[in-house]
């Protein structure tokens, strides 16, 4: 049974941290501004593509400093976290961050839907795409949470962004006149196991590619990855001791 008092405590601490983080605020505000700019410069449909593709990164930014920085400051050795409550705090932090990011994403989606309803162009198919964006975002949070057991000061997020950059650079450098991975992903089935696995590896570092809704198998991979990352994080938290 979840400790609601601990969830409330975690929320109050985490909310203050997010509000006092200029990077988190700037990233959170820059995203809707960018989407509106695309919509005004081009069309609502183009803005929708960017909105759903980039929405998971809102979760990723929220996942910076999830664990290691809190541990290294020594602030967990406080009367608020006695009797193993620091473990509950670290576990609840993932839930609180996911809820906060999902709430923010839902608010943005609501505003985006109103814009679409007024300007025309909103489609019922946006709902499952929003769900897939939230799934990819939750995967990012869980993965960033696992990495933040070792990487501190936002380097967990930087590591993921670097992995994405490397994957995209590989894709671009391997592009030829023949159909490539993205063409297969966009247009039809993959020719054989090798390209399927390669695309699966890309999805592991860039789950945003599943938000189109045309790749249910890879969406299932993201869901499985979310479960695995949450399990690993739970194990790490349960075994954790404050030794400093």
């Amino acid at each position: 049974m979840p400790d609601t008092a601990l969830l409330a405590l975690t929320w109050r601490i985490t909310r203050r941290k997010i509000v006092s983080s200029p990077l988190a605020l700037a990233a959170g505000l820059a995203f809707p501004v960018f989407v509106v700019w695309i919509g005004l410069a081009d069309s609502y449909g183009t803005a929708a593509r960017f909105f759903f593709f980039l929405l998971p990164h809102v979760f990723l930014i929220a996942g910076q400093d999830a664990v290691r920085t809190d541990i290294d400051t020594g602030a967990l050795e406080n009367v608020l976290f006695l009797g193993g409550r620091f473990r509950g705090f670290l576990a609840a932090k993932g839930i609180v961050l996911a809820a906060a990011a999902a709430g923010y994403a839902a608010a943005l989606f609501g505003a985006f839907a109103v814009w679409g309803a007024v300007a025309g162009g909103f489609e019922a198919g946006f709902f499952p795409r929003f769900g897939l964006s939230v799934l990819a975002g939750a995967y990012y949070l869980a993965l960033a949470g696992v990495l933040s057991h070792w990487l501190k000061s936002g380097s967990n997020v930087v590591a993921l962004l670097l992995a994405q950059s490397a994957a995209l650079a590989l894709l671009v450098s391997s592009a030829t006149a023949k159909p490539g991975l993205l063409d297969y992903a966009a247009g039809g089935p993959f020719p054989g196991l090798g390209p399927r696995l390669l695309f699966g590896a890309l999805v592991a570092v860039l789950p945003n590619v599943v938000v189109s809704g045309r790749l249910p198998l890879y969406a299932a991979e993201v869901l499985a990855g979310l479960g695995l990352a949450a399990f690993v994080q739970g194990r790490l938290v349960r075994r954790f001791e404050i030794r400093k």
Binding site: S20, D70, T73, G74, V79
Partner: protein, 231 residues
């Protein structure tokens, strides 16, 4: 109130504690003494639940537990009032009552209440320590564990903390201290636990301690401690 039975803990190859056992009684102050590296802080962390024992057990009577670390550290983005408010699981009375009781407690600790609007992470070491006491007073613990109760404090503040600890003991609270300040411990403690190289070498109440002191013709706690420590 606290019963520690055959507690052991290893950090890799280092055996930090081996079969440590002791008891503390309700409404008393127990001082844990020992040289550097004797295992005092490890024992406290096991009692507080920050570490898990490799063997043995820790039993603590039900109730609220408090803790003042040697060098308190706080989340750098929270101010003093916010941190104090985090300890209020169920608001008692209105906010004005809470504020008034915090201000009264701050005065009793010679803590400048205007600092509460600032972040404790930026306080001096002495003020951070006094703030840790203030945080614990707000929680009203039945058992208070303090690591080096007087470190970083100036003489007037030491007197305030001494009065606070004795006042808590007199109101029925149990206190476990770890300290190197033997003269202060002799002044306020009702019992002593002495650790050496991760083992308990003495666990005595004040009466037994006085007997031990006279039998060994030690003029003070320091002499007895040094004899026990083999020096």
């Amino acid at each position: 109130m606290i019963e520690v039975h055959r507690l052991s803990k290893r950090f890799g190859r280092v055996e930090a504690l081996r079969d440590v056992s002791f008891k503390t009684r309700k409404g008393t102050i127990t001082a844990m003494l020992g040289e550097n590296g004797a295992g005092k802080t490890t024992t406290l962390k096991l009692v507080l639940g920050f570490l898990r024992p490799d063997g043995g057990s820790v039993a603590v009577a039900p109730g609220t537990m408090g803790y003042v670390p040697d060098r308190p550290v706080y989340f750098p983005w929270l101010d003093g009032w916010t941190i104090l408010g985090l300890g209020r699981t169920k608001p008692r009375g209105n906010g004005r009552d809470f504020g008034a009781s915090v201000l009264a407690s701050a005065r009793s600790l010679l803590f400048d209440a205007s600092l509460l609007r600032r972040r404790p992470a930026a306080y001096s070491a002495g003020n951070a320590k006094k703030f840790a006491y203030l945080q614990n007073i707000v929680l009203g613990p039945d058992l208070l564990v303090v690591d080096e109760p007087f470190s970083a404090l100036d003489p007037p503040s030491i007197k305030c903390v001494r009065d606070l600890l004795c006042g808590l003991r007199d109101s029925g609270r149990t206190i476990l201290l770890s300290s190197h300040m033997l003269a202060e411990m002799e002044r306020i403690a009702d019992g002593f636990v002495v650790l050496r190289r991760g083992q308990t070498i003495a666990n005595a109440g004040l009466r037994e301690w006085r007997l031990m002191r006279s039998a060994r013709t030690g003029p003070d706690l320091e002499s007895v401690f040094l004899r026990l420590a083999g020096q």
